[in-house]
Amino acid sequence: MKRTFPLIIAAVAGYVMVVAYFMPALQQVREDAEEWFNILAAIAMILGGASILGMHLRKVSDRRAGWGFSVVTLLGFLVTLYVGLFKVGVPPMPEYPDRAWTGEYIAQGSALWWSFEYIIYPITATMFALLAFYVASAAFRAFRAKNLEAMLLLGTAFVILLGRSYAGTLLTGWYAEEYPNLTLPGLTDMIMGVFNTAGQRAVMIGIALGIAATSLKILLGIDRSYLGSRNG
């Protein structure tokens, strides 16, 4: 029963979504199903919050290695939750100056805005910027001209890296008037527009069919591994 019931829910919801796509009369049912997902995800947020709290509180109480960081995490979590929920420092809307809580939760000057602007903003930008370092080390390590395919890939990388920067204009700009398509930026555009597009489309078609087959397996109940069944 524990397996059958979720299976029925998944199948019914799935079939409704498929059928409703072709039947305008069922459009509302489809929209409702989509909304149900959002509601479930929102409820699951509470479970997520509980998971964070439980895990880090245990870590602190057991004095496990690095428990100090858990204290920081817990403080950060609770403070953000508090200032966001209670709109700390949010100025009221100009139309209702004497009503607190009318302003936008992330209005400029509020505590949540402040934490966003001066903590999340720089931290996430830094994390993303780390990518530059990892790309460099991956380029050094992985781009080896081991065989013909790898050499072709290497050649393409050279053209794109040069064509996508000022170096392309600098090196081949002098004959751009006569042969615009043979300049590095021109070749880059051609590689991206022709070879890359062709490859991307092929991959996309494969993926789309894969998605269709996976969906069908789940709808027909053939693949129950997401429920942890034996056939996984």
């Binding site: 001209a145 920067s165 527009g193």
Partner: protein
């Protein structure tokens, strides 16, 4: 040496990358760009819209991608405002709300005279639901954005007049860093509703999968920071005036007029009161930040400095301003050819050196690979 290179500590590479980016950031080299057709198509589309068209901008990115996509947001906002279009801003990312504020700041600082909130632009804030949100507003905007970020109903603003769904807008610009982003806009808005015209700006990483959509489903696209830089270049070709003739002439005249009794500062103050502007704006004029002045200001300046207005007009025309056929300029017509307005172009220097370093690393990596292989063969 070969041994050392084979087992090279990654941190050396990190250091090299740090220097390759940091040095050009500090030196700020100016590298010219030429718009490629895919970028020019976006620029031409916005140029071709009749004044007062309504454009919806969906800023679907977060602070992490801001350095790459922020310049596109700013360049689009400037261009659209220069063309006098109505702007509606939304974001499908909860962390994208501050990105709309960036655009608002551009409008408030550079177009305060022509653009007022509600009349010409609106911040509709965050819309939850990812691709479902796009599907929803493609047929009914009010279902998701019934009120703006200030909580007022959409219908009470002139900027959204007659806009009931995406299909009523003249252009939709998607600036996206991932999911939901440009792909979803193409799949759920542009393709099922051909009347929705779509252009995009995307990060370098997510650009290749979007190329198949150009030019059918996407009119044009700004791929990565290079695309933004090309767009800025296109903008400065049309809206930038590179010359320094007018500011030079003004500064020379002020210098010539100044005496012991009447210092340059005093002349500046006189000019400010005659023009009815503040010190910052006068400074902008004298440094060429604003160098196409309205004719009324030119005649006032000419009178105050005892110059022939035609001489000033000629100097401004030399700088690239155009007063023919009754054309005049607003008093804050900024010179978009100046590097302070070209964030993306300024970032092309670090990008160039980072690319060159990558190429060098690939070559070095292969060199080591071949040396090692030769050694193995000898053994």
């Amino acid at each position: 040496m070969s041994e050392w290179l084979t087992n090279l500590d990654r941190r050396w590479i990190f250091l090299a990358m740090f220097l390759a980016v940091a040095i050009p950031v500090l030196l700020q080299p100016e590298l010219p760009e030429q718009p490629t057709p895919i970028v020019q198509a976006v620029f031409d589309k916005i140029e071709s819209l009749p004044e007062g068209s309504t454009v919806l901008l969906s800023l679907d990115y977060d602070p992490a991608s801001e350095p790459e996509l922020g310049p596109m947001n700013v360049a689009f906002t400037r261009h659209l405002a220069l063309r006098g279009h109505n702007l509606l801003y939304i974001t499908l990312w909860p962390t994208g709300v501050p990105m709309i504020d960036d655009a608002m700041r551009v409008l408030e600082n550079e177009f305060a005279d022509q653009y007022t909130y509600g009349e010409n632009y609106l911040n509709l804030g965050y819309g939850a639901g990812q691709e479902a949100a796009i599907k929803l507003i493609a047929t009914d905007l009010a279902k998701l954005f019934g009120v703006d970020s200030r909580g007022r109903p959409l219908g009470s603003y002139n900027a959204a007049r007659g806009i009931r769904s995406l299909q009523d807008t003249d252009l939709v610009i998607s600036i996206g860093a991932g999911y939901p982003g440009t792909k979803e806009w193409v799949q759920y808005a542009g393709t099922p509703f051909p009347e929705i015209q779509l252009v995009a700006g995307v990060t370098g990483v997510s650009a290749p999968p979007q190329y198949p959509y150009y030019p059918q489903q996407l009119i044009g696209m700004l791929p990565a920071i290079k695309g933004a830089a090309e767009y800025e270049a296109a903008l400065s070709l049309v809206y930038g005036t590179a010359g320094e003739a007018l500011p030079e002439l003004l500064n020379e005249s002020i210098q010539a007029m100044s005496t012991d009794e009447r210092s340059e500062d005093e002349i500046h103050e006189e000019l400010q009161s005659a023009l009815g502007i503040g010190a910052t704006q006068l400074q902008s004029i004298l440094t060429g930040r604003i160098n196409c002045l309205p004719l009324e200001q030119i005649s006032t300046i000419a009178e105050a400095l005892a110059l022939d207005p035609m001489v000033l007009i000629e100097a401004a025309t030399e700088d690239g301003c155009d007063y023919a056929d009754g054309r005049d300029y607003p008093d804050n017509y900024l010179n978009y050819g100046r590097s302070e307005f070209q964030t993306a172009l300024r970032r092309m220097g670090p990008q160039l050196s980072a690319h060159l370093l990558m190429l060098a690393l690939i070559v070095l990596g292969n060199l080591i690979f071949f040396l090692d292989r030769r050694k193995e063969r000898r053994r």
